[in-house]
Amino acid sequence: MDKDLFLQIQNVVVEVLRCPPEQIELSSHFKDDLGADSIDIVSLLMALEDNFERTIPNEVAETFVTVGDVYNYIQKHS
């Protein structure tokens, strides 16, 4: 695992969802494990775009269910 990339994603998730960093793993489900609602998911998408300075297509964003989904997408498109 690219630890730096994971930490970057973890920081964004903490910023948006205000959950403890130790609660965030690649397998963490945004809604079921981290308590995200639909507004949070939109906020998370915008925060990821700002942080990684890229636009994430809506059809891709809709497939983000876990932290690992985000990690895999960004790693693949870096």
Binding site: E15, V16, D40, S43, M46, E49
Partner: protein
Amino acid sequence: MKTPIAITGVGAIAPRACNAQQLWETALVGACGAEPIPQEWRDYFAPNSLFWSPLQPQQYQVLENGLTPVEQRQLDISQSLALCATHEALNDAGLETTCVNEKKCIFSIPSIDPTRLGVFVGTGVGGISSLLQNHLAHISPAIPNSALSTSKRFNPFVVPMIMPNALSGQIGIRFGARGANHTVSGACSASTIALCLATDAISRGELDCAIVGGSEFLDESTGALFRGFDIARVLTTAETRPCAKPFTNNRSGFLFSNGASGILILESRQHAQNRGARILAQILAAAQSFDAYNIMASNPEGAGARRIITDLLQRADVSAQDIGHINTHGTGTQEGDRIEAALIEELFPHTPPLTASKAVFGHTLGASGALEAILTVLALQTKTCPPIPCDEEPSRNIGISSTTQHIKSPLAISHSFAFGGHNAGLLLAR
């Protein structure tokens, strides 16, 4: 009004002022804070007015103000400014807030019945800056010679950023205020109208307390909002500072500001006394009128403005001679100042000390009435009338000065006259 309404807290963000105390200190210095408009705007239009009075970016970048990055993406800056000013005003009023939801930044005010806490906030244009800025960033790559090569996501929160009612709504959500909640659109009188509505609602016994004021943010990268006022020929054409010269023969228009927020905490006197609050000043009367004349010009006889002053005096049961200070509308426009100066000279021949705060801070539109109400409270407390940044003689015999003046009486008026014909005023007592 049978029982005066207590003002127990104030908060402000304005050009050269990050809180109400700095607002007062800047007003006392009385210098014109104008800066040349951004050079890049000239790529888009040839301006008639050369100066503006801007908020500095660090004043509205939310991290600096204790708001979160998430809120930055969801709030129009007029809303961010109002939230910051509200935090300050509640703290100033001694109303402790408790965070009840960290993720959503929601607070409660344990010492107040939330169903009897209202919000009344004025704005001129709401969150239109957010729409313009978002749209520009989104479509820029499609524009020939655009500096931006990639399109930014069109912000999914843009609707709650631009809808005017989100201004009072965001304050109500953040502080759990479940009483009457109104955003008032009344151009330059918006926040004075909001103060009138809140005063009336508390007087009728519908509320114990209200968060009241105004907020405005009119800025995006191409200067489109400045241009709107500039092309209407209402802005100063001065080539040097001071720019606005209210009530003088050399006035040429108002000094544009891109924004500010002023918030006051109003309470019934009983409620304030019951909780042992410090009362900064009291509202003895509030009045509103409408010109029904022209959407861009005041009634040339000043009938609507006159009715504000006469109604205030009658409702407070005081005479014109009792008034010790007036915070004027004083924009520096030819016609507006002519009407206002003639009215003040006629109705207040004892020449009480006046000030014209827009010459110092610029015209902050929907926020201006609230800022001026705050300055009037502080003027009464210190018995000091702030100066204006112009030492030219006024065109009428009225009490304007480039130096501070002593206020002899504990009564003052703050009034606003807006595009559209909306007039509003308050009579305050120390």
